[in-house]
């Protein structure tokens, strides 16, 4: 019961929000998906810096500077204030030095630093882009990506300039000032303010059509200048981002940037006009530190959009769910719980087994609940089956390894079950963090994946297969350790049975999943099997598990052999799972990520060493890995 009081504490996330929270749920469309402003902000920050919070590095120590929403708001309305904030992560020191930056320990650079070497970056990026995408090196790809990030950053800084008072709109001519009813104490005005007043000049401008230029008065020339300035600004600065104002036209909903609204002359629409006004109030509230102005304007803007633009593609309830999902951050908390469960389970093998194992199981149950909640709410937000991206496969497999562990725990081996659940779920969720670093984990899907039926059947089945084979590998490690330390025969037997059970589960589901994959391929591409790398990966898992079973049946593989073989099963699974995507080849190459390669190779090395040591040690203690081949 004590555990359940932790639940509300865990669920109510303590996030220090420096700006009013009303800002967080403003809808913005980005990469084809309508999302809350907070997701948009953290996604962009992740894209630039690899983290979802902005940090500064005074004296080489990393400290939190501001959260993503505050950073994004600065970027839009007050970019000069964050110019020196180090938000561009350049991992490769060669790239940093090639554009003239001295590599630093924390590998994060500010816009100001990079802008100082802008020319060099542009030159190098231009050279890199001239090469065919297939032939580009990692260095060139990262360079292009950095250049694109800087471009994007700049576009954001300019996207709200129409609301910023500018020297382009100064009015020395007193007559013009009077005509436009401008406040006398101000010297500069914003594009938006003048644009809105442009109607007052209509009469003057009309008369100029028939007036010869020599006859123009001071007022005439000044008026003409203003209208030209307005026109030029629209030409130069019309930016399509951020897409935040919906507009219905041509039978569908468009999401336009404020600039697009203006350049398409949509401000005549009263509602849209007030929405732009609220946007400028958000800006004013932000600049003046006036929280109530900011939050009121944000709420009104959001409610106005919700009222007029709710449609199948934009559902405010889904955005609310996403906000909740961001708040709860279920997978990070689950990781913590699984970590605690692991420590408890390990402790439970040494002393007070019953108490500690029960505690561990409790933590695992809670973590599994959180993970299930996370997966469930993602299904709701996406309106899709649970596994649609590589990132989600890790969540799903983590959950099912935990469930398999719980099954074993309640069957008859609490220590094995708890260890299996906590180790596998923790590791897999940690790996998933690397994939979350791409930015937006709730992305839209490419056309070929756009089939709920196959996503629910093939992908789910094969992911469960991965879970089973991975679980059996973990149990294999546990068996190895138990055998080496000389556990009782009963215990060893039940561990071995757990190994066979999870391996069988894995084989059955991998096999069916692979066949279903072939059926899907036949429906989509016209051929059941094409030796595509991902297909090959899945086949390898099925083949390897079959080899293990047939070798066991034939009496060639002892228990030690099965245990070591199951570890190789993990290698096969990892290879099929994301090793293939690292190769960048074939119809399935839609899951790229940096940093995963290193993790993968390190794992391979460690696992191989374990297998080797295991083999030698087992032989020493007389546990046969291979049994003599009977004639």
């Amino acid at each position: 019961m004590k555990l359940f009081s932790l639940l509300p504490l865990l669920l109510s996330s303590f996030i220090y929000a420096s700006l009013p929270v009303e800002l967080n749920q403003l809808p913005i469309r980005d990469n084809g998906r309508i999302k809350p402003f907070e997701s948009f902000a953290s996604g962009k920050l992740l894209q630039f810096s690899g983290k979802s919070t902005a940090y500064s590095f005074p004296n080489g120590k990393r400290t939190k500077a501001m959260d993503a929403v505050e950073w994004m708001t600065h970027l839009l309305f007050k970019p000069s204030a964050i110019e020196s904030l180090q938000v561009f992560q350049i991992n490769d020191p060669q790239i940093a030095s090639s554009i003239g930056l001295s590599p630093v320990e924390y590998r994060s650079y500010s816009y100001a630093q990079i802008d100082a070497n802008r020319f060099r970056l542009q030159e190098l990026a231009k050279q890199a882009m001239a090469i065919d995408e297939e032939d580009q090196s990692g260095f060139q790809r990262n360079l292009i990506s950095l250049s694109n990030s800087i471009d994007l950053y700049e576009r954001f800084t300019r996207s709200m300039e129409f609301m910023t008072p500018s020297t382009a709109f100064q009015f020395p001519n007193k007559e013009l000032r009077a005509k436009l009813l401008l406040a006398p104490e101000r010297t500069q005005f914003s594009y938006l303010e003048i644009y809105r007043k442009a109607g007052l000049l209509a009469g003057t401008l009309d008369s100029l059509i028939f007036k010869k230029e020599v006859n123009w008065t001071g007022l005439d020339s000044a008026s003409y200048q203003v209208s030209r300035q307005l026109f030029e600004w629209t030409q130069i600065n019309d930016l399509p981002i951020p897409e935040m104002i919906p507009y219905f036209h041509d039978d569908k909903w468009w999401w336009l940037s404020p600039w697009s609204i203006i350049s398409n002359m949509l401000l005549h629409d009263q509602v849209i006009n007030s929405e732009i006004t609220w946007l400028s109030q958000i800006r004013q509230g932000f600049l003046d530190n006036n929280d109530s102005l900011l939050s009121n304007a944000a709420t009104q803007l959001r409610e106005s959009i919700n009222k007029r633009a709710s449609n199948p593609e934009y559902r405010p309830d889904l955005l609310k769910a996403e906000s909740l999902y961001n708040r709860v951050d279920p997978f990070i908390r689950a990781q913590v719980l699984f970590g605690i469960a692991l420590l408890l389970a390990l402790g439970g093998t040494l002393w007070k087994p019953r108490f500690l194992q029960n505690l561990s199981t409790g933590a695992i149950l809670l973590a599994s609940l959180l993970t299930t909640f996370g997966i469930g709410i993602r299904m709701f937000i996406n309106q899709r089956p649970p596994v649609t991206t590589l990132f989600e496969t890790f969540l799903f497999v983590a959950l099912f390894c935990a469930l398999l562990g719980l099954a074993i725990r309640f069957w008859k081996a609490p220590d094995v079950g708890n260890l299996l659940a906590s180790i596998s779920a923790l590791c897999l969720l940690l790996i998933s963090n690397k994939y979350a670093a791409e930015g937006d984990t709730l992305k839209v899907l490419v056309a070929v994946l756009d089939s709920n039926f196959w996503l629910s059947t093939h992908v789910v089945t094969i992911t469960l297969g991965y879970a089973g084979v991975c679980a059996s590998g973990v149990v294999g490690h546990i068996w190895l350790i138990q055998r080496i330390i000389g556990s009782k025969k009963e215990k060893l037997d039940s561990t071995y049975k757990a190994l066979l059970g999870t391996l069988g589960f894995g084989l059955v589901l991998s096999f069916i999943g692979t066949l279903l994959g072939g059926v899907w391929a036949d429906q989509s591409w016209g051929r059941f099997w094409g030796w595509d790398p991902k297909e090959n990966g899945a086949l390898l898992i099925v083949l390897w598990c079959s080899v293990l079973y047939h070798a066991k049946l034939a009496g060639w593989l002892g228990k030690g052999g099965m245990a070591l073989g199951s570890m190789i099963g993990i290698i096969m699974t990892m290879f099929a799972w994301f090793g293939i995507n690292l190769l960048g080849v074939g119809l399935h190459s839609y899951g790229f990520t940096n940093g995963v390669a290193t993790a993968f190779y390190s794992y391979l090395a460690i696992q191989s060493v374990i297998i080797l040591i295991g083999w030698i040690w087992l032989r020493k203690i007389g546990e046969r890995v291979f049994l003599p081949v009977k004639k």
């Binding site: 990469n31 069957w411 429906q523």
Partner: protein, 386 residues
């Protein structure tokens, strides 16, 4: 089945675990290295070398030196054939046909079905493609990588009597007789992939003619994916006592004429049992991105007495008269701006077999797993967690 035969030496040899395990291990090696081979050499070559061969030369080089050596290795066809025989023998004679083994039997029967089906597909299936602009029709699909030399006699406006000659397996020096037309063609040179060069003004008296202003062609390296290859060649035509050498390049828009006869090098045509017209192509993008959300084609199918409109889109192919048409991709013609829709076309008599084996094997796997699991669960009642 047939318990007396279980100990027959042939059964023991061909139905053994040894063969099964060896074949599975060989398949693992082939799959593993075949996947890596693809990175550098492309899917097509990897398939030909590792999976669609009986035996192949596995090349290895000693790192840091120029020394290369090879050893023979069984290819996918050989391994799968041996494995299939092994499966059949083992399933019929070795596995005991009793209730307890129901799952295992179903799994193996399903596998045998799958292997036989893949054999049928391998030897009898054919893939091609159809690309249509909105409003245009065709009665042919085009091969991806096979080319033909087609000859026809022009009579005024209409084309009469077409004869085509498949070039995929013919080498230079071959003489081809087109007896219908009383002419022969000597293949002087033929390049699997080539590059054309135009010259202005045309070289006089070069000895060969071409209708598109190409002055010469050069052989270039074959591309990783065979459909990117553009062949070309020099062909000597003997018509009666008239002799003329032609330069033909892949898919020229105009045929080259010798007298009344027209010659063209084009992708091999596969006649369809119907005519297909692209009425409308529609594409939906994820808003504000360049990524396709969905795309579909509305086509009209005209057969002898039948005419109907059908919608083809991702994961929803058209199956008709042994042909299956899949929405494969789309493009926009850079000059005319017209939208082009491409369909992958497949004929495969063994198409349904994998579906059957999926069901049979799947059922077998589930049954076997449950049968193996149940006795283990019962033990929980007898024990208490200590």
């Amino acid at each position: 089945m047939f318990p007396k035969l279980r100990s027959h030496p042939l059964v023991k040899r061909f139905g053994s675990f040894k063969i099964a395990t060896t074949c599975l291990l060989l398949l693992i090696v082939l799959t593993f290295f075949g996947t890596f081979y693809q990175i550098e050499h492309g899917l097509y070559l990897a398939q030909e070398k590792f999976f669609y061969s009986w035996l192949f030369k596995w090349m290895l080089s000693v790192p840091g030196t120029d020394f290369q050596f090879w050893f023979p290795f069984p290819g996918g066809l050989l391994v799968c054939t041996v494995l299939t025989i092994n499966l059949i023998v083992a399933t019929i004679f070795k596995i005991v046909w009793m209730k307890k083994k129901l799952g295992v039997l179903l799994i193996h029967i399903g596998l045998i079905t799958l292997m036989l089906g893949s054999g049928i597909t391998f030897f009898m299936a054919e893939e091609s493609q159809i690309t249509l602009a909105e409003g245009s029709s065709t009665e042919f699909a085009q091969s991806y990588s096979e080319w033909e030399l087609s000859v026809w006699k022009e009579k005024g406006d209409s084309v009469v009597e077409v004869s085509a000659f498949d070039l995929s397996s013919k080498s230079p020096g071959t003489l081809v007789q087109f007896s219908d037309f009383n002419l022969s063609v000597d293949i002087l040179r033929y390049y699997g992939n080539s590059q054309p060069y135009g010259v202005q003004p045309a070289i006089p008296d070069s000895g060969y003619i071409n209708s598109s202003g190409i002055a010469m062609i050069r052989s270039v390296q074959l591309r990783k994916s065979p459909e990117s290859n553009l062949p070309g060649g020099y062909f000597k035509v003997k018509l009666g006592d008239q002799e003329q050498t032609l330069l033909l390049f892949a898919s020229e828009s105009r045929a080259t004429l010798v007298g009344d006869y027209a010659f063209q090098l084009r992708r091999r045509r596969i006649p369809l049992p119907f005519q297909i017209t692209l009425l409308d192509f529609q594409r939906e993008m994820h808003g504000g991105t360049g990524m396709a959300k969905s795309y579909q084609s509305k086509v009209r199918i005209i057969k002898q007495k039948e005419e109907r409109d059908v919608l083809i889109w991702m994961n929803h192919p058209l199956r008709l008269d042994g042909f299956t048409l899949f929405q494969s991709s789309f493009a926009t013609d850079p000059e005319s701006g017209a939208e082009l829709s491409t369909f992958a076309t497949v004929t495969n008599p063994g198409r349904l077999i994998p579906y059957i084996s999926t069901v049979v094997s799947g059922l077998g796997l589930i049954i076997h797993f449950i049968l193996a699991l149940i006795p283990q669960l019962g033990q929980n009642r007898k024990r208490k967690t200590s």
